[in-house]
């Protein structure tokens, strides 16, 4: 089924669309963001400034964006996916040329009221383009080498640009999400096996390159990997983040030390406590119960998305929803692995909770697309 075959009449129209929003998903998103507000309030020492207030404003804006995106029929989003992709590439190039250097990497463009991180937009645009591609591509061609190489190229172009910023975390996320969409589209298993094998090869190549002229990663990236592998080696230096993060998590215990009682975050032992490491504050103050609760909410969102994707019937909707779900999953999975000492510190925020504007806006926009697919899904009964 392509979008042209929609029974246009059976989809809700006008303001009635609001009734057909995926309200469960919306509620879950509001819940997760509220957890974020609570934690930002806590790490600020019981204050709405400097983080809660702007975060709430951005969330309200993002929610508005989500509703607007949801109202627009899904086929519109399918049509503009090529434009969105090209636009995001242009932004990536722009950030390379005019971007602001922050934390040793070029990542932001200042657009007045907020700082835009083009790589965030890219994640969604890539997923949209791939979904549109497989919607257009006849199913029997899916696994043909030439038709596999094209989406691989589509993934690698933005990945390379992001890697150059350099932002290892986002580039891994891009590849994983793109790969996920390809997998869902039905590309043959063997390709993935080959890529995984190649990936293992690449990783060993990266380690081989260390210290040579053609070094593939920056020194700080190597150090992050080192400290990930053995954080105790240098507990006050490079391993500080992971060590302190694990201490905060562990000291939370079963039920936590209580709201605003986390000593690790309140006494500044935790680095980046309002952004990448905000989960540790949650785990310190609300313990295992709090951590598992947040994880469950996240997983519920994923489950909602999968259900939506299966129900959507049309290929673009299904793929774009699943792509967004994978991206979202990768966000929190990588972030949590990182703060628990299971992955190197790569600078991936906790979605909807970490302080930060563009990630939240883009994610809410993406969920708008999910909502749009949900609203405009084909309905059999109403003809």
């Amino acid at each position: 089924m392509s979008y042209l075959e929609y029974h246009a009449k059976s989809t809700p129209a006008g303001l009635r669309k609001i009734l057909h929003l995926n309200w469960g998903l919306t509620l879950l998103l509001i819940t997760v963001s509220s957890v974020g507000f609570l934690m930002l309030y806590s790490v600020a020492g019981g204050s709405f400034s400097p983080w809660v207030e702007p975060q709430v404003k951005r969330f309200a804006l993002g929610l508005g964006v989500m509703f607007v995106v949801a109202m627009i029929p899904i086929w519109f989003w399918r049509n503009i996916s090529v434009v969105a992709y090209l636009g995001s590439l242009a932004l990536l190039v722009a950030v390379e040329l005019f971007g602001t250097v922050g934390m040793g990497a070029q990542r932001w463009i200042d657009i007045g009221f907020m700082r835009l991180q083009p790589s965030e937009v890219t994640k969604i645009a890539l997923v949209m383009l791939l979904a549109a591609y497989y919607d257009w591509l006849p199913a029997e061609k899916t696994s043909r080498p030439l038709w596999v190489l094209l989406p691989v190229a589509l993934i690698l172009i933005p990945t390379a640009l992001v890697l150059k910023q350099p932002d290892l975390g986002t580039s891994i996320l891009l590849m994983a999400a793109g790969g996920g969409v390809m997998f869902l589209a039905g590309v043959h298993w063997a390709y993935f096996a080959a890529v995984i094998a190649a990936g293992v090869g690449l990783v060993s190549a990266v380690f081989q390159s260390r210290g040579t002229d053609w070094q593939l990663l920056k020194d700080y990236q190597f150090r992050r990997i080192d400290t990930f592998l053995d954080p105790s080696q240098d507990p006050l230096g490079a391993g500080y983040h992971i060590t302190q993060s694990k201490i905060a998590l562990g000291s939370g215990g079963w039920s936590g030390r209580g709201f605003m009682q986390g000593t690790q975050s309140r006494l500044n032992f935790l680095p980046e406590k309002h952004t990448d490491f905000i989960f540790t504050t949650l785990a310190e103050e609300f313990g295992f119960i709090g951590g598992v609760t947040l994880l469950s909410i996240y997983m519920l969102i994923i489950v909602f998305c999968i259900a939506s994707a299966i129900a959507a019937k049309d290929r673009f909707s299904s793929l774009v929803i699943m792509g967004i779900a994978i991206t979202f999953f990768l966000f929190f999975a990588v972030n949590m692995s990182m703060v628990m000492g299971l992955a190197p510190v790569v600078g991936v925020p906790l979605p909807m909770v970490s302080y930060g504007g563009s990630a939240m806006l883009v994610l809410l926009g993406a969920f708008g697309i999910v909502q749009s697919a949900h609203i405009h899904r084909p309905r059999q009964a109403s003809r």
């Binding site: 089924m1 006849p138 199913a139 029997e140 899916t142 996920g180 997998f183 869902l184 589209a185 039905g186 302190q244 694990k246 201490i247 905060a248 998590l249 562990g250 000291s251 939370g252 215990g253 079963w254 000593t263 690790q264 006494l267 500044n268 032992f269 785990a283 313990g287 295992f288 951590g291 598992v292 994880l295 996240y298 997983m299 994923i302 489950v303 999968i306 994707a309 299966i310 019937k313 290929r315 299904s318 793929l319 699943m322 994978i326 999953f329 999975a333 949590m336 692995s337 628990m340 299971l342």
Partner: protein, 648 residues
């Protein structure tokens, strides 16, 4: 079109399967995350909780207040005063040199202190405070406090520091404290953590060092919450330390002060001991120094001045210095002879001015000789030949045995630094020390307290007290510890016949009360206060035969360091001994002239517990004594606290 739709349905079915598969993977991963959380937060929670507490909580030691030291009347000798100091934390200061420059434009900083601070900075981690200036006035501290914003890392602090308000009077007795040095730490097996506090003061010398165990006290601790940069956020709890025990000495600070002033600029020592209970009422070594100089670390210039002084202000001559006792030893020789029945009290010895012993002439100090000399005359006129004679008959071992009984050659157990044992030679001692046989001439020398014989002023005072009482009077310096009275030093009877003792005491009485006595000029007037004493003049050089032939050079004509030591021991009142005094004036010349007047003045001061009336002195001396009393009264005016000038 239909087939196409079927294909599409097949594709959708495949996608659904793969979506469910991916969903399963994601769920599995989430399960893994939850498991990891469980491992960290439940299984290892205790360990991480502990680590978090270690992060958060710092234990800071609270230095205990050092025990204070008082004299027998409760006058303070060593106290703890609040002291203001300026510290800097190099880490917070950023550019330390710039901060120091700014600071020195506000308050005067001692370059030597700064040099010390820089050395300390190189040694210690950057987050520990370093003292830039110590014992700063209130005004300067206020200036620093007001300008604090311009001086990052600089803190005005208040702490306790040791102060010795009596300045030099107790420098040799109490000693002084100073900051713990690396050397101090290296000597200790398991140093208490409190010693690691920068500039923590411990006893370095004297009583302060000897009784460090009880004076120091126990450190308290406070637990503070710190943030990641080490800044203290709040105090969680504190356990106060236990202050060191207060001490009361047997010394009378007033008397001590008088004795110190009376010794004046001489290189001398004086000890006043209570015959009844062994209490040391005064124990002075002159010249003295200001112990406060050492508390914060003495400057190189000041230290050099003290070490290069030929009068050796740093040495404690009262217990550390040993001198040939000279004629003050004659009582012991007499007692040894009497106790061993070698000579009767009335028996006389013929003194022609010398005695030939083993082919060598041993001279009496009086070339012309004393003629027929009995015990009383021998003491009164200090005839040497009498003692050569009776000592040779008695034998050195028996003499030394008696000497030990009277506290010579015995190391008295006093909480002071470097208490000397002295020497009472025996045949065996000479054999083991020099590998030589004892000669009869050695006995002759020892009989008049020369040769190998060495005693400290303290030992001479103890000897005198024991002669005066016949009991084994033991010197006591610590009267009470933490309010607990220490055992008295009254002692048991010595087992010397009262008869012999009475004869010797009578001889000593004649010394200062018989017109022909060597210390008659230093007598005390007044019934019931009469003094018994003995002069001593000990040679520090050998008088060669050639020199003797040319006529012995008068002491006054010799360079200072070759002059004789002047000694005098005495007790009073003669009838009911209360105080025994020993005075040694290094290179002072004759005992009767240089030492006896000092001892007499000290004794009177002690007996009257203050300035004695002029009636206690011989008529002819009263105007001179009056002038002396007035002069001393002026000199004894205390300098204000905190004065840096030393009495020396």
């Amino acid at each position: 079109m239909k087939r196409n739709t079927k294909d599409l349905d097949a594709a959708h079915g495949k996608m659904t399967r793969r979506a469910l598969f991916l969903g399963g993977l994601q769920l599995a991963f989430a399960g893994g995350l939850a498991a990891r959380m469980r491992y960290l937060q439940v299984d290892q929670a205790d360990e991480f909780r502990l680590l978090a507490e270690e992060n958060r909580i710092n234990i800071r030691l609270l230095p205990p207040a050092r025990g204070q030291i008082f004299d027998r009347n409760g006058l303070i000798i060593a106290q703890n005063s609040p002291s203001y100091r300026i510290t800097v934390v190099p880490e917070d200061a950023g550019d330390v040199e710039e901060v120091i420059a700014k600071l020195s434009s506000l308050v005067p900083l001692d370059p030597e202190d700064l040099e010390r601070a820089r050395t300390e900075m190189r040694r210690s981690p950057p987050f520990l405070p370093i003292t830039l200036a110590d014992q700063i006035g209130w005004e300067d501290i206020s200036k620093v406090a007001v300008n604090a914003p311009a001086l990052p890392g600089v803190t005005p602090e208040v702490g306790l520091t040791r102060v010795y308000p009596q300045l030099g009077d107790f420098a040799h007795v109490v000693g002084y404290v100073g900051p713990v040095s690396d050397y101090d730490l290296s000597k200790m097996e398991d140093p208490e953590p409190v010693l690691m506090i920068p500039r923590f003061q411990i006893g370095k010398v004297g009583f302060e060092a000897k009784r460090e165990d009880v004076l120091r006290g126990k450190a308290g601790a406070k637990r503070v919450e710190v943030n990641a940069t080490g800044r203290v956020m709040r105090e969680l709890d504190r356990r106060e330390g236990i202050s060191g025990a207060d001490m009361q000495l047997t010394i009378d600070a007033g008397l001590q002060n008088y004795v110190q002033a009376r010794l004046g600029r001489e290189s001398a020592a004086a000890v006043v001991i209570d015959c009844e209970d062994g209490d040391i009422r005064a124990i002075c070594s002159s010249p003295s120094f200001d112990p406060n100089l050492f508390v914060r670390g003495i400057s190189v210039a000041d230290y050099r001045m003290l070490t290069e002084d030929k009068y050796r202000p740093l040495s404690n001559k009262t217990v550390q210095g040993t001198y040939p006792p000279g004629s003050t030893f004659k009582m012991i020789t007499a007692l040894a002879a009497l106790e061993n029945g070698v000579v009767g009290p009335e028996e006389t010895v013929w003194c022609p001015g010398h005695l030939k012993v083993a082919g060598r002439r041993f001279h009496c100090w009086k070339r012309a000789g004393h003629g027929h000399v009995d015990l009383n005359t021998s003491l009164k006129r200090s005839c040497d030949v009498y003692y050569y004679d009776v000592a040779i008959k008695t034998g050195i071992d028996k003499i030394s045995e008696i000497a030990n009984k009277f506290g010579l050659g015995i190391k008295h157990d006093l909480p002071m630094s470097a208490v000397a044992q002295g020497i009472t030679p025996t045949k065996e001692w000479k054999a083991s020390s020099y590998g030589k046989d004892w000669l009869i001439g050695d006995t002759a020398n020892a009989s008049i307290g020369q040769g190998y014989m060495l005693a400290s002023p303290l030992q001479l005072a103890v000897m005198t007290a024991r002669i005066a009482t016949g009991r084994s009077v033991t010197p006591r310096l610590l009267k009470s510890l933490d309010g607990v009275e220490q055992p008295s030093g009254a002692g048991e009877p010595l087992g010397i016949s009262e008869n012999s003792l009475r004869m010797v005491r009578r001889g000593m009485h004649s010394v200062s009360n018989d017109r022909r006595g060597t210390a008659y000029r230093s007598r005390i007037i007044g019934d019931g206060l009469q003094m018994a004493g003995k002069t001593g003049t000990s040679q520090v050089r050998n008088i060669t035969a050639a020199e003797r032939a040319a006529g012995v050079i008068r002491n006054e004509d010799l360079p200072w360091e070759r002059r004789d030591h002047a000694l005098f021991v005495c007790f009073a009142p003669y009838d009911k001994p209360k105080y025994a005094v020993a005075v040694v004036v290094e290179h002072g010349g004759g005992g009767s002239k240089a030492a006896a007047p000092v001892a007499r003045d000290v004794l009177l001061q002690a007996l009257y517990d203050g300035t004695p009336p002029l009636e206690a002195y011989p008529k002819a001396d009263r105007s001179r004594i009056k002038a002396q009393q007035e002069r001393l009264e002026r000199e004894r005016v205390k300098r204000p606290l905190g004065s840096r000038s030393s009495r020396a």
